[in-house]
């Protein structure tokens, strides 16, 4: 049971019963979200890897105890956020340097069939996402998750009032659009 149509709760139940394919499907569905939470907190290198790894080990530990298996995405994101705060506390900092914005684009980035213009747009989007405020970057990285989390789940994960998710999203996207326009980037959005 690995198809995209399989309900998440069924994957959790199957994985808890020992179904490896179900586990792989869960990883496929939520690895990006867990990674985004770590990277949204400006973690990089070993710190980001630590958060990512610990989060999946926690899910293995807790598989049979997950109370709302249909919300395992939110559970993973919340666990990842908690691990981020632990790692940040360990290294005695609340935020880290902006050095990561200078990181080179990995050579093995998946090859999307996009033209040069599109690639430049993506590069600009990525750059301006990285240089957004902490609040916007964390929120937007969670909001890009596929399958998406509900606003209720996003609010829980980021410890924000649920009523503020929509308005904050709108504001963050507005800022992003403005900065792209200032930089002369036409994203046509």
């Amino acid at each position: 049971m690995t198809g995209a149509e399989v309900p998440t709760a069924d994957l959790v139940a199957a994985a808890a019963a020992g179904d490896r394919a179900a586990w792989d499907a869960l990883v496929g569905r939520y690895a990006g979200l867990v990674w985004s939470v770590a990277r949204g907190h400006r973690l990089q290198g070993e710190d980001a890897a630590d958060v990512f790894q610990t989060t999946w080990l926690r899910l293995v530990e807790q598989l049979s105890r997950i109370r709302e298996p249909e919300r395992v995405g939110a559970w993973l994101a919340t666990t990842a956020r908690r691990e981020c705060l632990r790692v940040l506390r360990r290294s005695g900092r609340e935020t880290v340097s902006r050095a990561e914005t200078m990181e080179a684009v990995p050579d093995d980035a998946p090859g999307f069939d996009v033209g040069l213009v599109r690639a430049e747009q993506h590069e600009a989007l990525w750059h301006h996402l990285q240089t957004s405020s902490d609040r916007c970057r964390r929120l937007l990285r969670v909001l890009i998750a596929d399958p998406p989390l509900s606003y209720t789940e996003v609010a829980e994960v980021l410890e924000m009032p649920i009523g503020s998710i929509g308005p904050t999203r709108r504001r963050c996207l507005e800022q992003l659009r403005r900065r792209l326009a200032e930089a002369g980037v036409d994203v046509d959005l």
Partner: protein, 152 residues
């Protein structure tokens, strides 16, 4: 849905593509997440962390004078651990309450270390690599217990 809502959704979708290109999950971490399934323990009960001296101070041991005290409980069994810095490694002193002999396995990122707990349930494991670890205790005639993964 208004035009601006729709274009916001489009921008979020485009952001998702930009992130997929510029910041994908590293391949080796995807492998780790899939392989993590092999750490599943079906025969041992997960002990709950009930006390951690480092919880307030921040996780991890920083210097030679640092000691981290941890307590776990599952059912009637309590496990107390003392983690000490021992050069580049960690020294682990443990005690099971009620005390009883047990096989103790310390699992870490690179393998595992096995030790016997004495009649009173006390044990000492040295040379544990710094990093992620968990402790599994198999009391004679009892249900095995395992701690959550710890950052040591």
């Amino acid at each position: 849905m208004s035009t601006s809502d729709r274009s916001d959704d489009d921008l979020v979708r485009e952001l998702a593509r930009a992130v997929a290109v510029h910041d994908p999950v590293p391949a080796e971490l995807l492998v780790f997440a899939r392989e993590a399934f092999t750490w599943r323990t079906v025969d041992a009960e997960l002990a709950e962390l009930v006390a951690d001296s480092s919880a307030a101070a921040g996780a991890g041991l920083r210097g030679p004078a640092d000691v981290r005290l941890l307590s776990f409980i599952v059912g009637e069994q309590q496990l107390d651990l003392e983690l000490l810095v021992d050069g580049g490694a960690r020294r682990l002193v443990g005690e099971l309450t009620p005390g009883r002999p047990a096989l103790v396995v310390v699992e870490h990122a690179g393998g595992s270390l096995t030790q016997d707990a004495d009649e009173l349930g006390r044990f000492l494991v040295t040379g544990v690599p710094a990093g992620r670890l968990r402790v599994r205790c198999e009391p004679a005639g009892g249900t095995p217990i395992v701690t959550p993964w710890l950052d040591a």
